[in-house]
Amino acid sequence: LCVPLPQRTNLDEQFAEKYLRTFFNFKEENGSVVRRGISPLSQKLREMQEFFGLEITGRLDSDTLKMMSKPRCGVPDIKTSA
């Protein structure tokens, strides 16, 4: 039986990007050329999934979104100069 993946809303994706920006130093690729291969967003999602012991899919799956929605500390999870 082919089970369709739940649709991500645009709001979910904005929320996820902001989460990754705040806690995992995600920076959107600026400029005209985006390198082939894993997108920066997917790469950061993988980093976040590994940090939280989630399955590393690089996709905004329901477990990942659920973890992002949990109340938490505002300090980034990876060290940033700030």
Partner: protein, 371 residues
């Protein structure tokens, strides 16, 4: 554990703090007690000592909303609860709490200020976030009873890597520090195993591993993150898919949840399942989907309860080895999966056909935990 940076630590052991303002959620006394207690969590295991001052302190504690004077605005209720800065002059060491949160002294109705503050002061002293889901420095908030809270070993190792141990020796020598079990530890003996809506849950202490249906990578978390108010160190668990309920057992009590939501009226006595008063606790439980009956293991006896008739089956209780002759010792956990009974006894797991009760395989304890 993780530290903020090699020399991002205080160069002195006597630190001062000042509470700049107060949240209307709690009394001044409760806030001051929570902050002091949160600092003492770290003082107990290091040479660090804290004193409250009115002059310019090392650590400022303040409650602020959205924009509150630094470059990191808060986000209203829930989401980000607080943040703190690594040791250093000025804002270094300061801890800020989102005043849009409901902070409490010990109630689960809000966020326990003591727990949030103890975490933030970890940052104030030089710790970063830990990837250990049982650590205080894990980024996600989890409720613990503040009266019985003990700083986990991962956090103790972290802070002592910066400041060393408390020269006065352990403040509470009798206390064992919570550690986080390793799924691939060959000596791991599980407390209980159950299915739930196609997923598998393996319980140990205050932790569980959840194995989603479409993945073989178990994810470790705290039981409290899934079932609010559920006991830890449980004895047994089983799912009744018919009623979409999962039951958790501890001593003579049983808790019921529909998915993750508590079922009202629980916990109840295990007599609810026909178990006599002589049974002080059970060791494992297994729900037979085919027959709709529940198999309970207690000591060397097994009980079979007919959920539909609400009665114990005739001929039960009877010795476990009369049905499962290969199981030498105590049953520690059990569950049914795809027509097979998986019965754990210590470090091994027996795979029986539910129909014929014939032993198929002898497997490692962590067979489903994909080590």
């Amino acid at each position: 554990y993780s530290i903020s940076g090699n020399d991002l630590k205080w160069k002195k052991n006597h630190l001062t703090y000042r509470i700049e303002n107060y949240s209307p959620d709690m009394s001044v006394a409760e806030i001051e007690q929570s902050i002091d207690k949160a600092l003492q969590v770290w003082a107990k295991v290091t040479p660090l000592r804290f004193s409250k001052v009115s002059s310019d302190p090392d650590i400022k504690v303040l409650f602020g909303g959205q924009y509150h004077g630094d470059s990191y605005p808060f986000d209203g209720p829930d989401g980000t609860l607080a943040h703190a800065f690594a040791p250093g002059p000025g804002i270094g060491g300061d801890a800020h709490f989102d005043e849009d949160e409901l902070f409490t002294f010990r109630s689960q109705k809000g966020y326990v200020l003591f727990l949030v503050a103890a975490h933030e002061f970890g940052h104030s002293l030089g710790l970063s976030h830990s990837q250990d889901p049982g650590a205080l420095m894990f980024p996600v908030y989890t409720f613990h009873d503040p009266d019985t809270f003990v700083l986990p070993q991962d956090d103790v190792s972290g802070i002592q890597s910066l400041y060393g141990p408390n020269p006065e020796g352990p403040v509470d020598p009798g206390v064992t520090r919570p550690t986080t079990p390793d799924a691939c530890d060959s000596d791991l003996v599980l407390d209980a195993v159950t299915t739930l809506r196609g997923e598998m849950y393996f319980f140990k202490g205050r932790f569980l591993w959840r194995r989603p249906s479409q993945s073989d990578l178990p994810q470790q978390s705290l039981i409290a993150n899934f079932w609010r108010g559920a006991p830890v160190n449980i004895d047994a668990a089983f799912e009744n898919p018919e009623s979409d309920r999962v039951f958790l057992f501890k001593d003579r009590q049983v808790w019921a949840f529909r998915g993750y939501d508590p079922v009202s009226g629980y916990p109840k006595s295990i007599s609810t399942f026909g178990l006599p008063m002589t049974v002080r606790k059970i060791d494992a439980a297994l729900y037979d989907e085919q027959s709709g009956k529940i198999l309970f293991f207690a000591g060397n006896m097994q009980y079979r309860y007919d959920e539909a008739k609400k009665t114990m089956d005739e001929g039960f209780p009877k010795r476990i080895d009369l049905t499962f002759p290969d199981i030498p010792g105590k049953v520690t956990a059990a569950f049914e999966y795809r027509g097979f009974a998986y019965i754990y006894s210590g470090r091994v797991m027996f795979e029986y056909s539910m129909g014929s009760k014939r032993l198929f395989r002898l497997l490692d304890n962590n067979y489903f935990l994909t080590c």
